[in-house]
């Protein structure tokens, strides 16, 4: 299992973990200030092509961070699935961005830089921060009027490599190359518009740029770990759990979990559509085996008290799905012990079980015959927990969540 990001709440406690964020903030504020971002004139000069500091600092930061993130993910140090990628809400983002662009040229700061300006005694920074607070207040009061737009064009966790259908490494190389070209252009523009006051690039700039490009190429050559690589990192430990049957929960425990108000149960039925239509546990979501890996990133965003349970007719397909989800770092995944067949056996009356038993079936095929596709309308699909008092050995243990559920500007 990758070591990073660290399970901060587990290591330091709820409030202890906040100290890390305080330190990150200190470093962030100090860097912004030394870059000159506390000075509105320097920031605004960006838009008159005199001093392209904003652009240079921002894109240098993006490409340096980008290369380091995907390099550490490529070598298995960092789990990209547990990294917060701001979800895409395309149009609210674009309209908000345009409004912010206007705010930038009118006010001379963005929220982060205005904090640094305020901290270093700039009165215009203080007025800007007061303005930001007012703007946020107005937004909170007015968002109900356009809630539909605010929630529109949602595309979830959607990345550039997915958009263009190429590898992460290829996009990293392209972004680095593009930024370096733009830096070269920025220097040329500054030399013409800014005149002799323009700052010279440090002597190390060219070798550093070359070094970054080499690292980006390394990211592309190594490639990001796929589901099989990710499984290999955790295989020993997880195979032991499978053998000890520590993750196969009995139907009685699943019924208990479904009716536990403090747990959100997400049932993932990985059987054929035909079998799902004939019978499924009430509330189960059908997930074809091909969709399992791609659904993982959405599942990671579920609240921390979510328990995922995979099920097939017996256990084979459910175990495959479990492995794939575990490898993708989905927390709290379990397998329904004995599958849907065992569930039907547990929660149907004896007459049904005797009459509908299919003899001589293959592994992971239905054990009971249904004459019509009744889905969740069968009595066993939604058993009354009070009618079945069955003892079980509890196995579900909620793990503390490592993946952030909010990020950036949460």
């Amino acid at each position: 299992m990758t070591s990073f990001p660290l399970p901060l709440a587990e290591l330091l406690g709820h409030y202890g973990s906040y100290m890390i964020y305080l330190l990150v903030g200190l470093a962030f504020g100090a860097t912004l200030e030394t870059a000159g971002f506390g000075n509105s004139k320097k920031l605004a000069a960006q838009f008159y092509f005199k001093d392209l500091t904003v652009f240079k600092v921002m894109f240098t930061a993006i490409i340096v961070a980008c290369v380091l993130i995907f390099l550490s993910s490529a070598v298995g140090l960092l789990d990209y699935n547990l990294v917060w990628v701001p979800p895409t809400y395309l149009w609210p983002g674009i309209v908000g961005g345009l409004i912010m662009g206007a705010g930038f040229i009118v006010g001379g700061f963005c929220p982060g830089t205005s904090l640094v300006a305020m901290a270093t005694g700039k009165i215009d920074g203080v007025f800007f921060v007061l303005g930001v607070l007012t703007g946020i207040f107005l937004f909170g009061e007015s968002v109900s009027n356009f809630a539909v737009f605010f929630e529109s064009s949602y595309m979830g966790r959607f990345t550039l490599p997915e958009l263009f259908g190429v590898s992460y490494g290829a996009v990293v190389v392209a972004v680095v190359a593009m930024a370096l070209l733009m830096f070269w252009g920025a220097e040329a523009i500054e030399a013409r518009v800014g005149g002799p006051t323009a700052q010279k690039a440090p002597r190390l700039a060219v070798p550093a740029a070359g070094g970054l490009l080499v690292l980006a190429l390394a990211v592309m050559l190594i490639g990001q770990p796929d589901n099989a690589d990710r499984w290999n990192m955790i295989a020993d430990e997880q195979l032991a759990m499978l053998d000890e049957r520590a993750v196969q929960i009995e139907p009685a425990e699943l019924l208990d979990v479904i009716h536990n108000a403090q747990i959100k149960a997400v049932l993932l039925d990985v059987r054929d559509e035909r079998h799902y239509n004939q019978f499924h546990v009430h509330g189960a979501r059908r997930l074809s085996p091909e969709e399992v890996i791609n659904s993982a990133r959405e599942l990671i965003l579920e609240p921390a008290n979510t328990v995922f349970v995979t099920m097939s007719n017996d256990e084979t397909a459910a175990t495959e799905a479990w492995r794939a989800l575990k490898a993708e770092s989905v927390p709290n995944v379990y397998i329904l012990d004995g599958g849907v067949n065992n569930w039907i056996r547990t929660y149907s009356d004896e007459a049904f079980v005797d009459e509908h038993l299919i003899r001589g079936r293959d592994n992971d095929q239905p054990a009971y015959r249904f004459d019509a596709a009744i889905g969740a309308r069968h009595p066993a699909a939604e058993p009354n927990p009070e009618a079945f008092e069955i003892e079980f050995e509890p196995k579900v243990k909620l793990e503390l969540k490592r993946a952030p559920t909010s990020g950036g500007c949460g």
Binding site: F28, V64, G131
Partner: protein, 174 residues
């Protein structure tokens, strides 16, 4: 307060950018989330709103998430990040002898005009940042580094908005 003439010059932008990139990487590497600023301000504001008009908070869904019922709006990592940012900016300014009460503005306008415009620009910035679910740090910088499509679209929109209006404000900044 120090004499402005003794202020140390700002760091070279590529060097500062590299440092900022390393800070951003470490934030993702250690905590799993990037940087942000407007979210912290949002929660500080909601904290004070909650002190004075708690009933109002409980009626607006957007505010409810942060401070509904017994939820403490300050119980979030982003608040600590924001406090750290202010303190870090101050310390760095102190070391660089750049802490000075002053107003930075174009030569053709008065201090009062600059303050008013800073306030107006702040309103636009605050409003836009909440609509876009993040500011320059949370969306453009952090989302850009992890290759989010929405963050890149947002980033181009910010630059487009500012460049589109820059011409009309040229006398104001130059």
């Amino acid at each position: 307060m120090s004499d402005h003439s003794r202020a140390k010059p700002y760091m070279n932008p590529y060097l500062a950018g590299t440092l900022l990139g390393i800070v951003l990487f470490l934030a993702f590497f250690i905590t799993g989330t990037g940087l942000g600023a407007s979210g912290g301000l949002n929660r500080l504001l909601v904290f004070f709103q909650n002190l004075f008009v708690p009933e109002h908070i409980d009626q607006v869904p957007y505010l409810l998430k942060m401070a509904g019922g017994n939820t403490n709006p300050l119980d979030s990592w982003i608040v600590y990040l924001t406090v750290g940012t202010i303190a870090g900016g101050f310390l760095s300014g102190l070391i660089g002898r750049r802490v000075k009460v002053e107003t930075n503005k174009g030569p053709q306008i008065s201090n009062k005009t600059r303050w008013m415009m800073a306030f107006l620009g702040g309103i636009l910035m605050g409003y836009g940042a909440r609509l876009a679910r993040g500011c320059t740090s949370g969306q453009a910088l952090s989302g850009g580094a992890v290759l989010s499509v929405g963050s890149w679209a947002f980033m181009f929109a910010v630059f487009a908005g500012a460049y589109a209006l820059a011409y009309f404000f040229r006398r104001y900044w130059n």
